[in-house]
């Protein structure tokens, strides 16, 4: 991980607390969050590898995008 993205971890924490697993986040999920283009694209694609490299916490990635993991 190159660093921590507070913006990504904040939105992933919000979504994780809804206890709903997602394949990808929607514009509604992203509304009101201060994210850059790369972060928005990765969230909307449910790109778990990209999110990791952008600084999202892996535990949060796993909780939100559980269905994206083969195991």
């Amino acid at each position: 991980m190159s660093g921590t993205s507070y913006a990504l971890n904040k939105i992933l924490t919000t979504v994780a607390r809804q206890h709903v697993m997602k394949d990808a986040l929607s514009d509604d999920d992203l509304a009101g969050h201060d994210l850059n283009d790369e972060e928005r694209a990765a969230l909307k694609a449910g790109d778990i590898t990209r999110l990791y490299h952008l600084g999202a916490n892996p535990y949060l990635i796993r909780r939100v995008f559980r269905s994206r993991f083969p195991i």
Binding site: M1, T4, Y6, N9, K10, T13, A16, H19, I48, T49, Y52, N57, P58, Y59, L60, I61, R62, R63, F69, P70, I71
Partner: protein, 277 residues
Amino acid sequence: MAEIVAALATSHAPLITGRPEVSMPERRDRLYGGFHELHRRLTAARPDLIVLFVNDHIQNFPYSNMPAFCIGLAEAYDAPSPGGARLMRIPARRVRGAPEWGMALLESGLAAGFDFAYSYEIESWDELSVPLHFLTPEGQVPVAPVYTNCAAPPLPTPRRCHEVGAFVGTFIRSRPTRERVALLATGGISHWVGTPETGRINPEFDRRVLDHVARADIEPLVRLTHAEIERDGGNGGQEIRNWVALLGAVPGWKGEVLAYEPVAEWITGCATVWVHP
């Protein structure tokens, strides 16, 4: 005086109970056997309280306020909650806390230079639920958790975790009570969770950790850096901080590995360890 009557270390993973059918039956049975033997020994030790060295998985502590060490002061803990129970496939229950004991530890820590955070409400996950499901199925022993940040870097160093554990041990032994206290550390050993390497396990790292624990050879463990653990044990391997803290509380005590199984289907190198005086 209060007394430490037992010390145990185990892995925690929601799939240990949540997906028992996907592991190789002999691996599952050996690991469950380790848990059952720990349960038998713990019961025989008749603890009045279980002090837990555990970690949050960003269920509770958000990036807006992340404690390195946090003492639980809750009256009770969901272990698991109804939602967690469905995933972990174990009965939902409330396990009694020990808030007065936790407050005494907190105040003693602050006086001694251990600046613990504290929380009156913690939503536990597998760190309490899975081990306690096996170890106190009756749920009659109150628990006092000490949470260490193992999941949201930067993390406290293993050496600091060892010092915190040593303080907790000293605190317990100085209590002017006849409490019989069990220590339980949960987490680890190697696992990669939520990273691009999710599912990887490193049995070599696990056996190295277990070997140090078996010989009470703590120095190589406290010297481990975050980067070394991440490389060899994965982000989940950072949870060995909880084991290191426990070993700090019982200097010289040696681990007896009852079971070790690298269970790929549970994405965790799983161990059950009884720690002897």
